[in-house]
């Protein structure tokens, strides 16, 4: 990787080029991380007076306290000595023995970070994933239906979300969504009027997204309205929202429907190789879940869940490999996507099946403070739902705010791609519109997004600082804010180290995706 680097190695295999490219990017990121740490450290220790609260205090042992803190924070030492002693401790992370120093109360920052990092990274990564998935879907639909009512509505909403102050939206959501929902869930009944209104609104949105001539719109609106209203009346009648469940038959239907959608989106039903691979994965998932459901309900563990996911993906890859033939790569990726979707639906089914028990313990299920209920005594699923309900509101806030930019960028780049000559060629030789979009346009339109993910992730961490403040999370944001408030470098630097490393890793993922989407990049 090091020397023997001609400007453009002529006959290296493609994978090696990608690895070289990524290694180079990673090296640059590490240097930047080092520089960033120096900058943050210098700025933080100069941002105020760490002794100001003691100077103003009237305690009789004031001078003694000042002396104590000066010694603990090593304020008499020059800044570079303090920086290098921090760096020395932090560098030990590379050999697995982190020492991030002590905050000014003398608590070890390591323990503080371990407690805080999990909840913050969970929040930020979840919000990024949701924002990318929803934003890309919306962006592509609006690009395909350019200048339709749906396009204008989504564009307007994107602008609103883009202009929304995070802290304001968070407080509003906390007050209206959470508290109102908690009041409603007590008896969980809809009035017939609200069912009709909700069903009409949902059907209208769906119709607008589907599009087509007036007659088709009317038919799809009517059908969607009947389905939505019927579902809500059924849910209402059985108070589904208090004891929801999916159950095996519905699970099977959902997985088969997802399989059908994935086949249509990738190869179409005519390609029997992909079709058979996906169908095999679907059937194995359903049978496997039917066998495992009892065990997962009674003796669940994180390890078991991940093992199930891993088995599902392995089955998908094997069946894609076995059936694939000349479309092996597509068969493998399509059936892997289905395996992940089927696992997520299974997880949702398990969580929903435990909801009734959870709601008995927590009559107001959507919490507005903290990242977990303290001293909460419930089994694995109780804790799982507890974490999930705590995550809902902050994730929604962060997702809403970064959905906007993903939607806009995907729409712009999709429109750009759809105007290219090769798309016109594809259309003029009679390729169906579905194939034009899924085969020719979709992947190319994702290329510019890979660079945005890195920037957006940094923005989301900033957003997480605010969101954690509003929702009272003891996460990295709180660590940073408290550290900065008291001019205490150790927690601030720990925040920087964790979020900076996460940003570097996110960049790396984006770079890999970039090299995967556009092989020219690696050269």
């Amino acid at each position: 990787m090091i020397s023997q680097a001609p400007a453009r190695p002529p006959a290296q295999p493609k994978d090696l080029l990608v690895i070289r490219y990524i290694a180079k990017r990673l090296g640059i990121s590490l240097v930047v991380l080092l520089l960033g740490s120096l900058l943050m450290f210098v700025l933080t220790i100069n941002s105020g007076d760490p002794l100001s609260d003691l100077r103003e205090s009237n305690a009789p042992n004031r001078d003694n306290l000042i002396k104590q803190r000066t010694e603990l924070m090593r304020l008499d030492n020059p800044w570079y000595e303090r920086y290098f002693s921090w760096l020395g401790g932090a560098a030990k992370c590379l050999i697995g023995q982190c020492d991030l120093g002590q905050d000014r109360q003398g608590r070890g920052v390591n323990e503080l970070v371990i407690a805080a990092a999990g909840s913050t990274l969970r929040l930020v990564v979840l919000a990024t994933v949701f924002a990318i998935v929803i934003g890309v879907v919306l962006g592509i639909v609006t690009a395909i239906r350019q200048y339709s009512g749906f396009d204008y509505a989504v564009t307007f909403m994107a602008f609103v979300f883009f202009s929304l102050p995070v802290f304001w939206a968070a407080v509003l959501l906390k007050h209206y969504a959470a508290i109102e929902f908690n009041n409603w869930i007590v008896d969980a009944h809809f009035s017939p009027t609200s069912i009709v209104v909700i069903a009409a609104v949902l059907a209208f949105i769906l119709t607008a997204a589907i599009g087509g001539p007036m007659k088709r719109r009317l038919i799809s609106f009517g059908a969607a309205f009947v389905v939505f209203a019927g579902t809500f009346f059924y849910f209402d009648a059985v108070t589904w929202f208090r004891r929801p469940a999916i159950g095996l038959p519905i699970y099977a239907i959902v997985v088969l429907a997802a399989a059908a959608i994935i086949i249509v989106m990738t190869s179409g039903f005519k390609n029997h190789r992909v079709r058979n691979a996906v169908a095999t994965t679907a059937i194995v998932s359903i049978v496997g879940y039917a066998l495992m459901r009892g065990t997962l309900m009674k003796q669940p563990s994180m390890l078991l869940l991940f093992a199930c996911l891993a088995i599902a993906v392995v089955v998908a890859v094997v069946s894609g490999y076995a059936w694939g033939g000349f479309s092996r790569r597509q068969a493998i990726s399509a059936s892997s996507v289905l395996a992940v979707v089927a696992s997520l639906v299974a997880l949702a089914d398990l969580a929903l099946s435990n909801w009734a028990a959870y709601i008995k313990l927590q009559p107001r299920p959507i919490p507005t403070i903290g990242s977990a209920t303290p001293n909460f005594e419930a089994g694995f699923w109780g804790h799982f739902i507890d974490t999930a309900t705590h995550l809902i509101l902050p994730t929604v806030v962060l997702t809403l705010i970064s959905i906007a930019s993903y939607t806009r960028y995907t729409r712009a780049s999709m429109l750009d791609v759809l105007n290219q000559d090769y798309i016109r060629t594809a259309r003029s030789k009679g390729v169906s519109e579905r194939k034009v979009i899924t085969r020719h346009a979709f992947r190319n339109s994702l290329i510019p997004l890979a660079t945005i993910v890195a920037f957006d992730f940094a923005g989301l961490i900033g957003g997480a600082v605010i969101t954690e403040t509003v929702f009272g999370w003891q996460g990295m944001g709180a660590l940073f804010k408290a550290g900065l408030d008291t001019v205490d470098p150790a927690p601030v630097m720990a925040f920087f180290l964790v979020t900076g490393t996460a940003a570097v890793l996110m960049n790396l993922v984006a770079d890999i995706a970039y090299a995967f989407l556009d092989p020219r990049i690696a050269r």
Partner: protein, 324 residues
Amino acid sequence: MSDPNNTLPAVEPQDQYSIEDDVETTNTRSYSQGQLVLRRFLRHKAAMVSLIVLVFVVLIAFTSIGWGPIPGWWGKDYVTPFPIVNEARPTIQFLPPSLGEHPFGQNTIGKDYFSLVMRGLQQSLFVAFTVGILATIIGTVVGAIAGYFRGLVEAFLMRATDLFIIIPTLVLAAVLGRMAGANIVVLALVLAVVSWTGLARLVRGEVLSLREREFVMAARALGTPAPRIIVRHILPNALGTIVVNATLLISAAILLETALSFLGFGVRAPDTSLGLLVSEYQNALTTRPWLFWIPGMFILVISLCVNFIGDGLRDAFDPRQQMD
């Protein structure tokens, strides 16, 4: 109104250019690049509405309670507590239109909330526009030099942007904002320092492609000095990118300043800002909701207006957009 093609009133550019109507037969007339951009912008409805709203908000903010030593038409200031009127509720009415004693109500100790919000608006707008202008200048200069001369400046710029990916803007701004203290001018400078990199990168990209074009080569062959090539030949062609991103910088600065003030690292009491007002009254949502809603709505509205104006400018500068 002399142009028969023109269907929208009040968008007619100056008439002195109609001399160019040589090709009368086809009934078309030529427009300079600037005129085309202006016409496209004026036709962008959302941008025009936003521009009007924004100008209105700016006028109200700065005329109502005055700015610095200049007095305003609103008689009350934002520091004096007044006796509670109408249970501190907003007295503004739309039918018949009247402001009443305290249009936006009063806060918990009786201060006039209209004045407070106007003061907050002034601060936010001042910061936003200062940051917009300063960051645009820094970004353009660095981007142009990096793109034209390459070399060290470019390396510096690219590493600086990498740095900003690793340290979130809000975090860096919070640290610097805490150093800046409560001084609004310093705060604006600090925010400008953290927000120019994105624009610089875009300008660099634009300059990189423009410097290879024939007209730049021609200028260089004539012996034109580099600063003149950049200013006269390259930057005018990158104007679209610069203007559009300047508006985006302004809206980002509004959100950044309010967020900092919300966290307590920006504007601080006794002065006020929209973010500080939201932060102060986030628990008043059940008892006095207007204290929370009004400043938040103002942040949303000005940020939204600036974004729509940016969108209109983007469409206006896009050469692929056809007239008619």
